[in-house]
Structures are given as structure tokens and as C-alpha cells.
């Protein structure tokens, strides 16, 4: 029997991060049968504009494809910080994400969100779990998200690998946007997304968690990718997947390289000289 938890307001992520540091995660092999929901959410337009500016989306009355993730994310954290959740929240790495935009969502629509965990499974470097998010408007599911988080622990070399498609060699044009991501990139995105995970905020807060410098939020570089592809992506019927490969250490300069096919785009976010692949993004419709 699924335990339904209904939240009246968004959980405070800073508090979750502060207390998560103390929690180890249970050693259980099963996911708690919990579904966390929040109803009647109205988009804070000031915050939406700030988010759109940071991620370079146009402010046009339609929610960016990645925006509902912001609404679902605190609920994900709430699920993952629960006592019986088998993985520790601190140190969890966002390795993959899938978004399905069924139809455009207007900025004035009232959203109902629910989140649950599913498919706890081995990963080569530990264990991973999917956090499913569903956004509905008056009973109609308009957006779904699957966020896959890895918690490093005992290695499972035999675990199946989720390999992203290859973008192939650099085209003859060689172009594609170049982004100079400053040291404060993580703080700027934290301010508009509410995700103050210390690994993104500052080198001093990232180091205790094993990173030599702050790293960019995966959902930030992913959002920048989608905003850069812009009107080439449809507003409805879009399935977008991202594989986060190597973290983007801040500051750094990255380059986006894309190929376009009928009903599909494939992009690689790489180091400026192509030396490291940070993320692969595939959009299909």
C-alpha cells in the first residue's frame, strides 16, 4: 500500500541539505513505497524570469521544458531524505535525466506534482535509483521527468551500462556555442533553482565532498543546451534525455556541438578543446 504524503508547501532544501549530511542512508535493498505530492502550485513569475535569464530561455508565457523539474526537485529531495530511503542523499550524483513534455505548459496554469522513487538497481560504481516526477494540470499529465541518481558504494562491474549515443566527430563547420562558465555559475543557478547543494556553491563547500572545485549543476548545463537549441525543438510531444558524463568544474569553458536530424537532435557538451565530454543530450519527437 503506497504511503501518500501531501505537502502544503515546498520543503526547505537548505534544511534538507543541512540535515542530510548527518544521514547515512539505510542499508535496505528496497525502496519505501512512498509518493510525495504537492497540489495547486502557481509559478512564481519573478523567479521564472530570473531562472529564464540565467538559463537563457525566452520569457514568453510558456514554461521552459526543464522548469517543472524545479517544482519537482524539492519533492525528490524529500523522498530521498526519508529515514528508510536506501541511499544517502549527500554525495548522490545526478547521472541521467529524461523529460517528456506532452504539451506546452502556460505560466499561469496551476500545477499538481507528485514524485516517487523506482527501480533501485546496481551501477558499476554503486547503486542507482530513478526519481519519477509527474506534473498535471486539472488531472491531465502534461510533463513527466525521470531523474537517475547514483550513490557510490560497492562496485558492480557486471551492472548494465547506459551508454549515450555518440555525437560523432567534429563536423567541418566546427562551430557551436562556447560558454565561459564563471566561478559563480553554481551560485547563480542555486539562487534561481533553490538547489543549494554544497558541491555547486563554492570550492570550499565542494572539497569536503570530494570535488576539487565547485561543479556546475547538471540541470543548468542541460537547460542551457535546450535553450540554445531553442525553437528547433517542438513545444509538445518532446522527449529529452541527458546523460551527465564528467562534471563541469568551475570556472571553465565548454562547447556545445549538435547534429540535427528529422525528429531528433543530438548534442555533446564538451571541454573547449573537445578534451572531455561533460554531457550528451538527445531530443526526439
Amino acid at each position: 500500500m503506497t504511503k501518500e504524503i501531501t505537502l502544503e508547501s515546498a520543503p526547505d532544501l537548505r534544511r534538507i541539505y543541512a540535515t542530510a549530511a548527518l544521514r547515512r542512508g539505510s542499508s535496505s535493498d528496497t525502496l519505501p513505497d512512498v509518493r510525495v505530492s504537492r497540489a495547486g502550485i502557481r509559478v512564481d513569475l519573478d523567479q521564472l524570469v530570473a531562472y529564464s535569464h540565467v538559463c537563457r530561455f525566452p520569457v514568453d508565457g510558456i514554461l521552459p521544458a526543464t522548469y517543472p523539474h524545479l517544482v519537482a526537485f524539492p519533492l525528490q529531495m524529500s523522498v530521498m531524505s526519508g529515514d528508510r530511503f536506501p541511499l544517502p542523499l549527500m554525495g548522490a550524483v545526478h547521472v541521467e535525466n529524461r523529460i517528456e513534455v506532452r504539451r506546452p505548459i502556460g505560466t499561469d496554469e496551476v500545477l499538481d506534482v507528485s514524485v516517487w522513487a523506482q527501480d533501485l538497481r546496481p551501477h558499476r560504481r554503486g547503486r542507482q535509483v530513478d526519481l519519477l516526477s509527474e506534473v498535471s494540470v486539472r488531472g491531465e499529465v502534461v510533463w513527466t521527468g525521470v531523474s537517475t541518481y547514483l550513490s557510490r558504494s560497492r562496485e558492480h562491474p557486471e551492472a548494465p551500462v547506459s551508454e549515450p549515443p555518440s555525437v560523432g566527430p567534429l563536423g567541418s563547420g566546427g562551430g557551436g556555442p562556447v560558454w565561459r562558465l564563471g566561478e559563480g555559475t553554481g551560485r547563480a543557478y542555486a539562487a534561481v533553482s533553490g538547489d543549494w547543494n554544497p558541491i555547486h556553491v563554492h570550492a570550499l563547500t565542494a572539497r569536503p565532498l570530494g570535488f576539487p572545485s565547485a561543479i556546475a549543476h547538471g540541470m543548468y548545463t542541460y537547460a542551457r543546451t535546450l535553450s540554445s537549441l531553442g525553437p528547433r525543438l517542438p513545444g509538445a510531444g518532446l522527449t529529452s534525455r541527458v546523460w551527465f558524463r564528467k562534471p563541469v568544474r568551475l570556472p571553465s569553458t565548454v562547447r556545445l556541438r549538435s547534429v540535427f536530424e528529422v525528429g531528433r537532435t543530438l548534442s555533446a557538451l564538451e571541454g573547449a578543446r573537445g578534451e572531455v565530454e561533460h554531457a550528451v543530450v538527445e531530443n526526439t519527437w
Partner: protein, 431 residues
């Protein structure tokens, strides 16, 4: 006045003449002159040359690419500072490096349909007297403080100030959507098209030699008015040669394949230009002889953001459309003015028109547009030698080509100008 019951037929548009100040390398002779200073001097020089003092023109259209917020009405403010009748209307436009030619197109179109009889098109830019903005953090903080209704709220807003906010934001010469400078974009395209260093240096040296020769034979005597002690473009190196240019180190592109140097790329430049356009009747009434006719124009844009096309390739698309509309081939011209943003831009454009695959796949043509007679290209030098104050280049080229066509006793000329944002503006003049 009674409205016309039937549409007017198109009128011929005459290029009567032009004026510019010598172009100066940035942070040089014009370092402290503002856009309005330079444009006023340029328009006033044109007014003096063609006896337009006290004349109420149909309109003056001009623009600048690098613009201070105080210059919101730059062209109208300029007109009020000239000897033109102050009742002459004016407006600003901005289409990056296409600004000057686009201004001429707008004036020419109004003349052609009979909305105005005469007008001035111009452009100005200062890379020296550039606007500097406060940082985004400071700007947002100050705006929040300005919105605050009470002293306490204002103090709260100002408490958000951080030391880092005090660093100014200096305008960058980069494409906002790619983060690459124009030179970096061009270097990618040049490498893709296999444009050699030698070919670029040859084009650059020729540009200097031809501009110097044109000055020496007095070609610019009625096109250029000295300004602030400058009588020739300060970037001009009459003794430029391939040997000298070959010693320069590449500044754009990567590794051994880098070919673009400060010598075969245009420098940042300050300057202004203006051209006088009119109907045939207006010209006759004012006893002015048309140098050439402004026949037609076309603009194009390419999708360069993800590298599918080069940033500066749009003129390659605009020209075939213009040719088709006018029933011309690429070879039906006596003079070609292809703006030398970079030597590689000119060479890539010409190579693309010679390339059967590009012309078929990208331009949708049956075959290549073909080669041009290089002796007809930029015969009086171009931007590599003169410099390139962004919005002023169109006016420089229109006036020079019109005079060249007139001197030659007739003929047809093609103008091609690439612009930021993947745009291109092209036009045909005839005499």
C-alpha cells in the same frame, strides 16, 4: 493633400554623392570624438559639398553599432547640429555592419515609392569612445534601490552591493549566442574552405596598394573631408606587401592551421560616412548630376549558431537572390565591392560561388555562379586598408562605387557586406 488613387510606379533613385571623414584606428586620432561629433561633421561636410544648407530633406537615416544609451536619437540629434533645415526628420537603425547599406536601402525605397524626394543615409562608429556598462549585479542592485519606496527599503537594496559589482562591463566583440568573436567564427569558416594565408595576405596587400593609389590620383578628393587633423585613413599602409604581412603572427584560429593575422583582418576603427540619395526630378531641380542609380538590394541571414553555416556567409546567399530578381549573372558587373571584414571573408565568398556543391546544395542553384574577374574587385581598396567603423562602411562603399561607375562612364557594380548575427546586405548600382 489628396491621397493618390493609384499606386505610384517606382521611381529611379540617384546616388548624388557622398562624404566621409578619414577613418582612424581606434584609440588614435578620434579617441575622444563621440559618434555624434563624427556623424555631424560628416553630414555637414555633405551639406557643404552639395549646397544643402537650409534644405529640408525627406529624411536622414543613420546608425551606430556601438551606441551609448544617451544616443537613443543619435541621427535626429545630429541633424539638429548640422546646417540642414532643423525640420528634417531623422531616425536611427542598426543592422551591425550592414547598418550603413541598409540605411541607404531604406532611403532609396522611400524615394522609389515617392514618399520622399531626397534623403541622406549614413553611419558612424567609435570603437574608442565606447559605452561601458556597469556590471549586471550593480545594475540590478541600483534598479532595485530605484524601485524602493522607502529609505529603509532603498538601504536594504543597496546592502546587496558586493565589491565584484564595481567591475565595469566592457562591450565584447562576440556573438551572444555562440560566445565566439567574429574573427574566431571567420577562422572556422576559413579553415573549412581551405583559405590559405598567402591568398589572404595578397588580398590585404592589394587593398592597401589600391587605396593608396586612389588617394594619390585624387579619387577621394570629393568623397573625404579631413577631420581632427587627419586627411587619409590612418590604417593605410601604402608600402604594405605580402612579405611584410607574412611576418605577422596569427590572431584567430588554432594551431598550425591558423591563417588570420592583424594584417589580413580589419582593425577596430572610428569614423563616419554619409551619402545623398534623391529622385531624378529633385536632382535636376537642384542642378546635381547623378553619379549612379541605386537599382536594387537584398538581405539574407544564415543559421550559424550551431555551426551549420559560417557566421559571415549570408552575402553568398543574398547575391544569387538579387541576381535572379534582376535577371543578371555574377559576371554581369564591371565592379565588385565585397566588404573586407577579413581577407578570408572575401575569399570564402568567392570560393563558395565557384563551388558546384555549395551552389546546388545550399543556394538551390543548377550550377555554380562562377568566378569573377579579380581585376574588378575592390578597385579602390576596401576595409582592410581603410579600416571598418562598423556602421560607416556601407556609406563609404556606396559613395565610392557610385563615383567609380561615373568615372568609368557607366557600368554596373555589386556591393556585398556581411554583418554580425549571420546577416548579409547586398545591392546593385548602375551608371
Amino acid at each position: 493633400m489628396a491621397p493618390h488613387s493609384t499606386p505610384r510606379t517606382s521611381r529611379r533613385v540617384a546616388v548624388l554623392g557622398g562624404n566621409r571623414i578619414p577613418f582612424a584606428r581606434s584609440n588614435g586620432k578620434y579617441a575622444k570624438a563621440s559618434n555624434q561629433d563624427m556623424l555631424t561633421a560628416t553630414v555637414d561636410g555633405l551639406v557643404a559639398r552639395y549646397g544643402l544648407a537650409g534644405e529640408r530633406l525627406g529624411e536622414v537615416v543613420a546608425g551606430a553599432v556601438l551606441k551609448h544609451s544617451r544616443d537613443f536619437n543619435l541621427t535626429r540629434e545630429t541633424v539638429l547640429g548640422t546646417r540642414l533645415d532643423p525640420r528634417t526628420p531623422a531616425y536611427d537603425i542598426q543592422q551591425a555592419c550592414g547598418t550603413g547599406l541598409e540605411a541607404a536601402i531604406l532611403v532609396a525605397n522611400k524615394i522609389a515609392v515617392g514618399q520622399v524626394d531626397a534623403g541622406i543615409a549614413g553611419g558612424v562608429d567609435s570603437a574608442s569612445d565606447a559605452p561601458i556598462a556597469v556590471s549586471e549585479g550593480l545594475r540590478q542592485t541600483l534598479l532595485a534601490a530605484n524601485r524602493a519606496r522607502s529609505a529603509v527599503d532603498r538601504a536594504k537594496a543597496l546592502a546587496g552591493l558586493r565589491p565584484g559589482h564595481l567591475l565595469p562591463a566592457i562591450p565584447e566583440n562576440v556573438e551572444p549566442r555562440t560566445g565566439l568573436s567574429m574573427g574566431e567564427h571567420m577562422a572556422l569558416t576559413a579553415a573549412q574552405w581551405g583559405i590559405t594565408r598567402e591568398a589572404q595576405d595578397e588580398l590585404a596587400a592589394a587593398s592597401h596598394q589600391k587605396l593608396a593609389a586612389a588617394y594619390d590620383r585624387g579619387f577621394f578628393d570629393d568623397l573625404v573631408t579631413p577631420y581632427l587633423g587627419v586627411s587619409r585613413d590612418t590604417n593605410l599602409r601604402p608600402d604594405s606587401s605580402v612579405e611584410k604581412l607574412s611576418t605577422l603572427k596569427p590572431v584567430f584560429g588554432k594551431g598550425d592551421g591558423a591563417t588570420m593575422t592583424a594584417g589580413n583582418s580589419t582593425p577596430l576603427t572610428d569614423g563616419a560616412s554619409a551619402v545623398l540619395l534623391a529622385s531624378e526630378d529633385w536632382a535636376a531641380e537642384h542642378r546635381l548630376t547623378p553619379l549612379a542609380w541605386f537599382v536594387d538590394a537584398e538581405t539574407a541571414a544564415v543559421d550559424y549558431v550551431h555551426g551549420e553555416e559560417g557566421l559571415l556567409m549570408a552575402p553568398a546567399y543574398a547575391v544569387p537572390r538579387l541576381l535572379a530578381r534582376n535577371g543578371l549573372s555574377l559576371q554581369d558587373f564591371d565592379f565588385y565591392e565585397i566588404h573586407e571584414a577579413f581577407a578570408a571573408t572575401v575569399l570564402t565568398t568567392l570560393k563558395a560561388w565557384e563551388d558546384p556543391d555549395f551552389c546546388k546544395a545550399r543556394l538551390g542553384l543548377d550550377g555554380p555562379l562562377g568566378s569573377i574577374d579579380r581585376s574588378k574587385l575592390n578597385v579602390n581598396g576596401s576595409s582592410l586598408a581603410a579600416g571598418h567603423p562598423f556602421a560607416a562602411t556601407g556609406g563609404r562603399i556606396v559613395a565610392s562605387l557610385a563615383k567609380q561607375l561615373n568615372e568609368a562612364g557607366g557600368g554596373r557594380g555589386l556591393i556585398s557586406i556581411c554583418a554580425a548575427g549571420g546577416q548579409g546586405v547586398v545591392a546593385i548600382l548602375e551608371a
